[in-house]
Symmetry: C2
Subunit: 222 residues, 2 copies
C-alpha cells in the first residue's frame, strides 16, 4: 500500500526507492540478469543499505512479491465489496487487470509474467496465493448459486480468466499494440457465452442476480 504509489515528487523512503528500482529492472531484464549493483545504482543508494534493508537480492524479490500480492488482494477485496454477482465480479476484475496493465505495467508484469519459482525457491506457485484463490472462490460461488454452469473448478476458472490473461501476456510481450481496455467488451462477450447453466444441469436454486450484498463471502482468509 505504501510503496509504488510514489508518483509524488517528495523524497521517497529508501525502501521505496529500492523496491521501485528493483521492480523496474526485474521486469525489464529478468531477475537473474539484474545485479545488486544495478539496483543500487538505479535506486541511488549504497550496497550496504540494500543489505541492511532487505538482506540481499532475494530479500528484495521476496518483499516485492508479497507486497504486490497484497496490493492485488486489495484490488480483489475492493471488487468484492463493490459488486454482487459472480459475473459482475469477474468482469470487474478483468477490467481492472486490463487497466493496470496499462497504468501500472510493472506490477502486472511482475505478478503475471515472471517465473517466481526460479528465484523464490520454496514458494508455491503464485496461482495458489490468496488473490488467485479468491478469484477461483468467486467462480465457485457462482457455480454453487447456479449463476455459472457447474464444471471442474480449474476448467471454469480457466474459461473465465484464461483469454484475458492470455491477452495480458500478449500485451506485455508487446505483440498486441492497442491498450487492453479497448478489447474489454469483446473479450467479456466471448467469455460468458457458454458459461450460463442450462435448465437441465443445475435445476435447484436458480436465482442468478438476487444475492443480497456480501452474501457469505469467505474470501478474506489470507
Amino acid at each position: 500500500m505504501h510503496y509504488l504509489k510514489c508518483e509524488s515528487s517528495a523524497p521517497e523512503s529508501v525502501d521505496g526507492r529500492i523496491l521501485k528500482a528493483a521492480l523496474g529492472l526485474f521486469v525489464k531484464s529478468g531477475y537473474h540478469n539484474v545485479s545488486v549493483h544495478d539496483i543500487q545504482r538505479a535506486a541511488d543508494v549504497s550496497i550496504g543499505s540494500i543489505y541492511n534493508h532487505f538482506g540481499g537480492k532475494e530479500g528484495i524479490a521476496k518483499a516485492l512479491y508479497f507486497h504486490l500480492l497484497n496490493e492485488m488482494q486489495g484490488m480483489v477485496d475492493g471488487v468484492l465489496v463493490e459488486t454482487e454477482s459472480a459475473r459482475e465480479r469477474c468482469n470487474r476484475i478483468i477490467e481492472l487487470l486490463f487497466e493496470y496493465t496499462e497504468t501500472r505495467r510493472d506490477i502486472i508484469a511482475f505478478v503475471l509474467h515472471q517465473r517466481h519459482q526460479e528465484f523464490l525457491p520454496g514458494e508455491p506457485p503464485i496461482c495458489s496465493a490468496a488473490p488467485f484463490r479468491a478469484m477461483r472462490e468467486v467462480i465457485q460461488q457462482g457455480m454453487d448459486n447456479g449463476e455459472i454452469r457447474r464444471r471442474d473448478p480449474w476448467v471454469a476458472a480457466s474459461a473465465v480468466f484464461g483469454s484475458a490473461i492470455r491477452m495480458i501476456h500478449l500485451r506485455l510481450d508487446e505483440v498486441v499494440n492497442e491498450p487492453l481496455p479497448r478489447y474489454l467488451d469483446e473479450i467479456l462477450a466471448g467469455t460468458w457465452q457458454g458459461m450460463e447453466p442450462d435448465a437441465a444441469s443445475s435445476p435447484k436454486k436458480r436465482k442468478p442476480m438476487d444475492l443480497p450484498g456480501q452474501s457469505g463471502v469467505v474470501v478474506s482468509d489470507r
Copy 2:
C-alpha cells in the same frame, strides 16, 4: 526431429545427450539456475565437448529453442493435413498440446512455460514464431470463411486457445493433478460457445464445413 525422440536404449549421439540433459535441467530449475557443469555432469560428457558442439550454455538454449519450435511446427503441419475446418484444427491442436503435456512434458514446459527472452537476448517473443503464427492463421481463415465470428485476431486467438494454455500452465505448475486430456471435452465445449458467427454479423459466404482439403492454406511460410 532427430533429437529428443530418443527413447531407444542405443547409445545416443553426444549432441542428443547434451540437449536432452539441458532440457530437463532448464525445465526443472530454470536456465539461470543451471550451470554448464550441471549439464556436463547430467549428460556425462566433458565441458570441452559442450563448448565444441554448442559454443556454450546459450548455444545449447538456442539449439533447443529452435529445435523444439521446429517440432511444434511439425505438429501443426500434421494437423493441417489431417483436418479441414478451422474448428477441427484448433481442437486437434489443443488435444495434442494436452497429450504432449503429459507425455513429453519437458518440451511443452520449455516452449510454453519459460521466459525465453531472459536468456535468448534479441529473440522476438515466442508467440511471433512460426507455429504460433500458424495457429493464428488457422483462426484467421476460420473468420474469413465465416466459420468463426469475426473479431480482432488477437482476441479470437486468445478466446480459442487461452483457456487451454491456461490449463497447461496450471498443470505444469502442478496445481492441476489430473492429466489434461481428461478435461479436453469440457474445455472444448466451453471454447466454442460464442465463437459461431450470428447470421447478422457475417452474412456473406456462409459455408461452415465444406472446404475441400487444403483450401489455400498459406501457413508453411516459415
